[in-house]
Every structure is written in C-alpha cells, then in structure tokens.
C-alpha cells in the first residue's frame, strides 16, 4: 500500500479551551506520541467549517482530527454539539466521494486529559497508517 518511508499528513483543528489545553498538558507531562499531526488552533470547534475539511482532503491530507470539549463543557455552551452535527454530515459527504470516512475523526479531550490526548494521537496515526495514503494525495504537485 504505502512505501516504508511514508509519513501520513494529518491536520488537527483543536479548540483553545479544552483540547489545546489538554495537548499542552500532555506536553507538560512529557507524554510521547508520533509526530505526524499538525495542529491548528481555533477558539471553539464550532468554528470548524466543512470547507476546511474538504480543503484539507483536497490538498492531499491523509487524515483529519477535530477535537473539542466534552458535551456540556463547551466554553461557549454549544459549539461542540454543532460541530459534531456538521461532522456527521461531512463524513457522509466523504463516503459519497469515495474517501474512507474514518480519515475524519472528532474527539473530545478536556483540559485535564493530557494522557487521553497522547492516546488519541497514537490512535489517529495508527488508523490513518492502516488506511494508507489518501487517494487524493497523488493529485498534488
């Protein structure tokens, strides 16, 4: 499927108040995980426009992670619910265009869950590696 040296390109869009803080906490605790994910910070996962996801896959991303607060804990009350609803929609779209929808994942990591962030990182990279490079990555460059 992929050559031995293939490193997946995975983008994470994470919310400032919970998941970004949780990721920082993982750093503080020196929890080690694979370096294949690049994070983009937003204030709330409610900010995530399906456009961003489609653009990322169009650009050749192999995987995408959206991570926010647990339901009930959103700093802005409901942004994470709205994001989750959008993610269901986007996953359907991805399936319909022939991309394995497991390439897009939404997780919920709170500011105190550094260890969980480490596990999420490991699992996302593992999943994407199993799925192989995105079929769209060949169309870039």
């Amino acid at each position: 499927m992929a050559d031995e040296n293939w490193n997946p390109k995975i983008i994470a869009i994470i919310c400032n108040w919970c998941s970004y803080a949780g990721a920082d906490l993982a750093g503080g605790a020196r929890i080690q995980y694979p370096p294949d994910i690049r994070a983009i910070r937003v204030m709330c996962t409610g900010r995530v426009d399906p456009l961003f996801i489609m653009k990322a896959f169009q650009d050749g991303a192999d995987g995408m992670l959206i991570s926010g607060c647990h339901f009930g804990d959103c700093h802005y009350l409901e942004g994470n619910y709205k994001c989750a609803k959008r993610m269901f929609l986007v996953k359907n779209v991805l399936k319909n265009i022939g991309l394995n929808d497991r390439r897009l994942r939404m997780t919920f990591v709170s500011a105190s869950e550094g260890a969980k962030w480490g596990m999420v990182m490991e699992d996302v990279v593992k999943t994407v590696k199993e799925l192989g490079p995105s079929p769209l990555s060949e169309y870039q460059k």
Partner: protein, 675 residues
C-alpha cells in the same frame, strides 16, 4: 499601517527555551528554513525568547526590518501569547499582528526521541504560523464596563472569608448559600487542629460579621439557577427557596409590624413531624420546621416542605403578633448583576459503606470522622459524650482507620488522591479521646502520617507522647462480635512485618472526600472545567491557583481540591483579591475575536441567528428593504459557531478568518502555500 494589500514582512523568532526545545530538535535548521519562507524577511533565535533581552530582540527587529507581522516559535500561546503581543506592540505594531508556533508543548516535549521527526514538524509549524501571520490585521480590543458587585457561591468559611474581603474592599457582595444557615463544615467540627480552638467559637465572629456587613447581601436557602454573561457583566438568576418563614423585613412588607421570625422556637415545639437532622448527620432529630443548631445565621426557622404535613400547629404557636409562618410560600427567583464570581461550595464524604470490608452501616460501632466530630462536640447529639451507638457505653479502645478510601486505586467509591486533612484530624481525635475518657487508648492504623503544615509535626509529636498507638498497615477487614458488638480489626503491622488483629470498642473511619453532587451542575453553569481528580480546575496549579480559565470566575476552598482551614481561608482571600481587581479597574478588555457580517455577501437567510448561543446576532433592514445580519459586539464571544456555518462565507471571524485558516491548511499540505 493596516492596508489590505501590503506586502508581508514577517519576522520569525525561535526560542531554545534552554534545552527544552533545543534539546529535541534543530533550532538552526528551523531558523534557516524559516528564512526561505515567502514573506519572511528575518529569522532570529534566542535562549529564552520570553525574557527581557529576548523580547528586545523582537522589538528591535520590528523596527530594524520594518516588520508588519511577528511569529514566535516557542512554548504554548496559552502561556506567552500575552507576553509576546506586548512586545509586538512595543515594537510599534498592532498587538494582534502576532502568531505563535507551539514547538515545545506540542512538539519538543512530546517527541523527545525523534530529532528528525520533531525538526520536520517544527518547520511545518513555523510555515503554518507564517501563513497566518501574513494575513493578520490590526484589531482593537474592546473595553466593557464592569459591574461593581460580586457573587460568592457557598457560605462555608471559604465563602464567608471571600465575601468579607470583597465587602471590606467596598464591593457589594451577594453571598449565596443553599442551606438555611451559613457556616458549612466548620460549624460541624468540634475542635480544629493544631491549636485545638473550638471551631464554632472562632467561626461565630465571622458569621456575625457576614450577617452585619452593609456590603454583604446574605442570601441563605438560595441556589444559583442560571448564569449568563461574561466577565464584568454576569446576570445570575437565583432561586430563593421557599422557607415558609418570614424575615422581619418580609413581614413588615406584608404589613405585619414588629412581626417576622425571631428564632423563639415555639413552632418547633408543637410540630408533630420528626426527621433526621442532616447537620447532626442523622444522629439527632429535627422537626419539619427547624433550625440546624442554636448558632445559625440568620436566626430564622425553615419549613421543610417535603415533610411538612400542613397541620398548621406552628402557625398557631407563632401567634398573631409575629405571624412569621406562611405555609403557602413558594420558591421565587431573583436576578442580580455582578462583575465577578467566586465558587466556594465545599465537599462531601464518599459513601464509605461502599468499602464493605470496613462494615460502615452494617456494624453499629463503625462511624466516620465527621460523625465522631458531632459525637465529641459539646453541642452535638450526645452533649459531647463519646458513646458507642450500639449500647451507649463509653468506648475505651478506639481504632482510627486512616486513608479510608483515599490513595486507593481499586475503583468503586474509592479515590486515588490524598484527602489531605484526615491524618491531622485523626491525630486530633486521638488527643480528644485521651483527654476526655480516662483510660482510653486510640489506635491509629495508618499508611503515612501527613503532618505537613505549620505546627503540624509538633502536634504529631505531642499526640505520640500522649500515648496514642500507631500501627503502620492497612485495615484488611473488620468483623463484629454479634453479642458485644465489639469490632475486630484485621491489619498488618508492616514495621514489625506481621499480621495483627485487635479488638476495638469502636472504629472511626477517616473517610475520603469528594465533590458535592451539585458541583457538576454548578461548574457547567459557570463554565469551569473539572480536573482529572474530579475537583474544579484552576487556571494554573502554581501560577494561578485561585482563577479558572473562564475570565471572572474564581475558586476558593476544597471545591478546588482537598485542603485544610488555613489553606481554604488563604485561597479565599486570594480569590477575593483577584475578583476585586476587574471591579476596581472598572473596565475589562475583551479579545476582539468578534464575528463581523460582510454585508455584500449576506443573503439575510437568518440561519446564523439561531446558532448563536448568546443571542448576539440579529437580522436588520438596510436601505432598499434588504435584510442582513448584524453582530452586537458586546454579546459576541468569538466562538465562531456562526462563521463555521454561513454557507455564503459572509461571516468573518476576526483573527480566525476562513482565509487565514485555509492558508494554514494549504501551507502545511501544499508546502509553500498560496500567495
């Protein structure tokens, strides 16, 4: 300065952070790489970018190279974004022309053994940050006025202290307590370690001060129903539970001059309903109309409408002059506006009957530390006589099980953390029984004795010298003799290396503590997170232990984590000080991440209006009858939920615009990004 089509001139500044970053990836490579990025005119490195010389490098560089954007690759923006924004501003730029690449907390610290991987990731992170920096714009922070009032939730010693400090600083303070009286756990204690002060005695003056202070509005038997708003402008809806009893003020408002409750107690004398008194942990009765104990503040009786049978005997006993009882009273709601809030809601004990091996609730003579406090307290259910629940006899051999349910990883009701004050109160209990009961011998079954505070170790020596027995080992099992109801404690003396079984007249479990059941609902209302151990999450354990990540909300006392009375009072004072600052300054600056409607693109569909959790969006009419959306900036918190939705791309989320985010995505994936 801020023209839309100006050429980007970005400076990239890379921090070594000592060896924190430099030890895991190649700063040199990242710096050289940064220089190749479109728009970057200078790349510098330094040991500690956040230091004064480090910041000077940024300031000088902005001027020297005529930069219009700054990228710092270092730690987390959650830590130093404010620091570097100020440096950016000192260099002469608008402070929002700054972006950070987190190459420490989210790179060098988590990829410590992958030099190549970490370096490659750092280059990507810098490229992503530069892509956004090229598109940043000038923004002005918005100032909002701060309401000159504060809210304190919880009327224990922490809440009371915080309220007193705020009130003394001239701030109107609403002190809300869900029970009919203030006082909290400290009222339930007999003596306090290490001074052996009488708890209620030292608390009463504070309770009186709270009741008397002109700036404190004491609202007991009241709960927080809803919270809206943001720092400086919280609107709190309070549920004033129906007490069934009128205060003198309320009576007067109804035209009963000289009426209202004066705490005489005539009503309780005639009430036919008897219920367990929760203040006495169910060990003493109260009536359906009751006060918890004689020192309550306010001194008002309360009707427990769940058990009141509405016989009306109390109304008759109260009489025509006071007419203080209204059995038809219902809950009412009141709204208050405050600038800041402090949460001080305290704790509960774990349901220790869940640790079945110790027989709590199965064996009469196994009690908790809090029940011991009530039994040994002179104003408690036995008048201060420590007696065995099974037969009323005075126990001589009393076992104390320390760490009962604390420092315990076996799940269920047990907690992995240390409850912090149980070692000390167990020593205190040991002292009290040796003092009060001639011939009594306390046996403390411990894992460690944590006597960490001021004069605590000395207290430990004292109790050892007074003759308490200490056995280092966990209690595996407790069995009850069916006739005598004595208890056999099975443990291990780990210092002697052998198992041990001892017969006790009574056993006291120093049960672990946990957050109250309502803590979850309250924290979600105020927007406070939960730590991994379940207590409220502070903004930073060392640098900001009284604050939370939600601006304007502060924490005091055990609700933030187990602590004793000195630490609770200290934290309450800290929280009050922090909470008073925005109020005294009078205004607070909000980050200008507001939504903006690009009217040319807005179709006026109005779907974004319902998405906003703060009601900050409205549809308005423009010339020609066209409808477009308009943002009320004062209400907008910048979450971006509307911006993430608008199908026409008509909503611009400032500082997190869609073009900026797309540029970041493109920069990473297309290596170099689009210009």
């Amino acid at each position: 300065m801020a023209e839309a089509k100006e050429q980007p001139r970005i400076g990239v500044f890379i921090c070594h952070c000592g060896t924190n970053i430099a030890g895991s990836l190649s700063i040199e490579e990242v710096k050289e790489y940064a220089k190749t990025l479109p728009g970057v005119v200078v790349a510098e490195e330094y040991q500690y970018m956040c230091s004064t010389p480090g910041q000077s490098i940024i300031v000088d560089s902005i001027k020297e190279h005529n930069l219009n954007g700054v990228v710092v690759a270092a730690c987390s923006p959650r830590l130093h974004e404010p620091t570097f924004r100020i440096a950016t501003q000192e260099g002469g730029l608008n402070k929002f022309r700054f972006e950070m690449a987190n190459i420490r907390d989210q790179n060098s610290w988590v990829h410590m053994h992958d030099w190549e991987g970490a370096t490659s990731k750092a280059k990507d992170q810098v490229r992503i940050a530069v892509a956004k920096a090229r598109m940043l714009e000038d923004l002005e922070p918005k100032s909002v006025p701060v309401e000159h009032a504060a809210l304190v939730v919880g009327g224990g010693v922490g809440g009371m202290q915080a309220a007193l400090d705020l009130a003394s600083a001239g701030i109107k303070t609403y002190l809300v307590e869900k029970n009919p009286t203030i006082g909290g756990r400290m009222s339930q204690l007999d003596k306090t370690f290490p001074t052996l002060d009488c708890s209620q005695c030292i608390l009463t003056p504070k309770m009186v001060d709270v009741g008397r202070h002109p700036n404190i509005e004491l609202m007991t038997y009241t709960e927080v129903e809803n919270v809206e708003g943001y720092i400086g402008n919280f609107t709190i809806t309070l549920r004033k539970k129906a007490r069934g009893v009128l205060t003198p003020t309320e009576a007067e408002a109804r035209g009963i001059v000289g009426g209202g409750c004066n705490g005489c107690g005539d009503c309780a004398e005639v009430c036919p309903v008897i219920k367990p008194n929760p203040f006495e942990l169910g060990m003493a009765p109260r009536k359906a109309i009751y006060i918890y104990h004689p020192q309550v503040n306010p001194l008002l009786y309360t009707v427990d409408f769940d058990s009141c049978i509405k016989c009306g005997l109390c109304v008759t006993a109260c009489g025509e002059e006071k007419k203080a009882i209204d059995l038809d009273m219902v809950d009412t709601f009141e709204q208050v506006k405050v600038g800041t809030c402090i949460l001080a809601i305290g704790y509960d004990l774990i349901p220790i009957e869940g640790k079945k091996e110790w027989g709590y609730k199965r064996f009469d003579n196994v009690i908790t530390g809090l029940e011991f406090e009530r039994l040994i307290c002179a104003s408690g259910p036995t008048g201060g006589k420590l007696i065995r629940p099974s037969d009323g006899q005075i126990p001589k051999k009393i076992g104390f099980v320390l760490c009962a349910g604390s420092r315990d990883n076996t799940g269920g009701v047990a907690k992995p953390y240390c409850s912090r004050f149980c070692c000390m109160y167990s020593l205190k209990h040991a002292h009290q029984i040796m003092e009060k009961i001639p011939g009594a011998v306390p046996y403390l079954f411990y894992m460690d004795i944590r006597s960490f505070g001021k004069m605590y170790e000395e207290f430990y020596y004292r109790i050892q010298n007074e003759g308490a027995k200490f056995i280092r080992g966990r209690v595996a099992n407790i069995l009850e003799d069916p006739t005598s109801k004595n208890l056999t404690v099975y443990t291990e003396d780990t210092l002697l290396g052998r198992p041990l079984s001892l017969e006790m007249d009574m056993v006291v479990l120093a049960a672990a503590i946990q957050p109250k059941p309502e803590a979850e609902r309250i924290r979600q209302m105020f927007g406070v997170s939960k730590s991994q151990d379940g207590w409220y999450l502070e903004a930073h354990p060392k640098l900001n232990p009284c604050g939370t990540t939600t601006a304007g909300i502060y924490l005091a006392g055990v609700c933030q984590g187990p602590k004793d009375i000195p630490d609770t009072v200290a934290q309450a004072e800290g929280a009050a000080s922090a909470a008073s600052i925005p109020i005294h300054i009078g205004e607070v600056q909000l980050e200008p991440y507001f939504a903006q409607c690009i009217e040319e693109l807005c179709a006026g569909c109005g779907m974004c209006v319902n998405l906003c959790p703060y009601g900050a969006l409205d549809l308005v009419e423009r010339d020609g009858g066209r409808q477009v959306m308009e943002v009320t900036e004062a209400k907008c918190k910048g979450c971006g939920t509307c911006g993430g939705f608008c199908p026409g791309g008509a909503i611009k989320m400032q500082h997190f615009t869609s073009p900026q985010i797309c540029a970041q995505i493109d920069a990473f994936l297309l290596e170099g990004g689009e210009q």
